[in-house]
């Protein structure tokens, strides 16, 4: 099975180390996320070279945090391979889910509630936006916050499962020590009532399909959904 993970390496040396360790852990594909403001073409080329050097499938994405940035992404979507949104308040979550150009949204729970409801789950399914769960968020919280966070996550998972929105669980590592074994990520979903088969899909197929579709769209041969130049 082709396991994939989403990571947030701060610099290129760290990224190299992470990819080497990730290979040992059994990951076949990584999606490196940069901040939207810091991202440029020079970084993109350097990261791609690292991917080729280590012979690992490396996708490059950007992280968006505000309304304005979502609007900018909408206009310039063809410049980016993968776009994720860091949620955190209900209106931003809703805006991200309403935007078809967004690939994934994570950090849904707010301080007051789970930041996600049945209506949003239906929209996520309709617009094919992935619901992300960052394992790092779980570890960084203190005890009291973690209790609320886990409760909110459980509700979100339940809704996403019921309305068939696609879920992705990732380590969200910033250095090599924060990487997690795929089996550990799977276990989190199994404990929340998912089958082993379903849980494995959330680490592999859901993310892989999205990345491959994006790559097809970015190629010159792509015209519109269902239409592409063959010869």
């Amino acid at each position: 099975m082709k396991f994939s993970d989403i990571i947030f390496a701060n610099d290129l040396d760290e990224l190299k180390e992470m990819l080497e360790v990730g290979k040992k852990l059994g990951f076949k594909r990584f999606c490196q996320i940069f901040d939207f403001k810091k991202f440029n073409e020079k970084i993109e080329e350097e990261v791609k070279e690292i991917g080729k050097e280590l012979e690992i499938d490396l996708c490059i994405g950007v992280e968006v945090k505000t309304f304005n940035q979502i609007e900018t992404i909408r206009r310039k979507r063809k410049n980016f391979e993968f776009v994720i949104v860091r949620g955190g308040n209900v209106s931003l979550n809703r805006k991200a889910l309403d935007t078809k150009e967004i690939d994934l949204i994570y950090n849904l729970p707010t301080k007051a509630n789970s930041g996600f409801n049945h209506i949003m789950a239906k929209i996520a399914r309709k617009n094919d936006v992935l619901i992300g769960i960052n394992f790092r968020n779980l570890l960084e919280k203190n005890e009291n916050e973690r209790i609320k966070f886990i409760k909110a996550l459980k509700l979100n998972l339940k809704l996403a499962k019921k309305y068939k929105a696609k879920i992705v669980v990732f380590s969200g590592a910033k250095n090599k020590f924060e990487l997690k074994d795929p089996k550990i990520l799977i276990s989190f979903l199994v404990m929340n009532g998912f089958d082993l088969k379903e849980a494995k899909k959330c680490i592999s197929k859901n993310l892989n399909e999205k990345i491959e579709e994006n790559r097809k769209r970015l190629s010159e041969k792509w015209i519109m959904p269902g239409v592409r130049v063959i010869k």
């Binding site: 040992k24 924060e178 550990i184 199994v190 404990m191």
Partner: protein, 118 residues
């Protein structure tokens, strides 16, 4: 005079039939980057297990280390077959032991020691 309790202490319990015994699973893990002590690792797992699942629930896991198979960076854990995923989830919370940062790789989950050894 001996009381009833001290008499019963001398009696041996009959071994449970295999169908009534708890089913076990063995988990083989490797600690990447740093070499760590078995006792420290065991202490850390139990500490985190109690913190996350609570003492009442953690007892059901029947977590033990197979000490004769724990060599170098490899460790073998034994637990109830119902709580394998709980143990794996628990391993996700271990990032450092006594200041040494570690990465945990899960090699194999099996029902017999024979296949773990191979």
């Amino acid at each position: 005079m001996d009381n009833a309790w001290s008499k019963s202490d001398k009696m041996k319990l009959k071994i449970l039939p295999s169908s009534l015994r708890e089913k076990k699973r063995y988990i083989k893990i490797e600690v990447l980057e740093e070499k760590i002590d078995l006792n420290e690792f065991e202490k850390k797992i139990k500490e985190i297990g109690r913190k996350i699942f609570g003492e009442f629930y953690f007892g059901d896991f029947s977590l033990k280390f197979v000490k004769n198979l724990c060599k170098n960076k490899f460790f073998v854990l034994r637990c109830s077959h119902l709580f394998v995923q709980h143990i794996l989830f628990l391993l996700g919370f271990i990032e450092e032991i006594n200041g040494k940062k570690i990465i945990i790789k899960v090699h194999k989950i099996s029902g017999t020691l024979k296949s773990i050894k191979s």
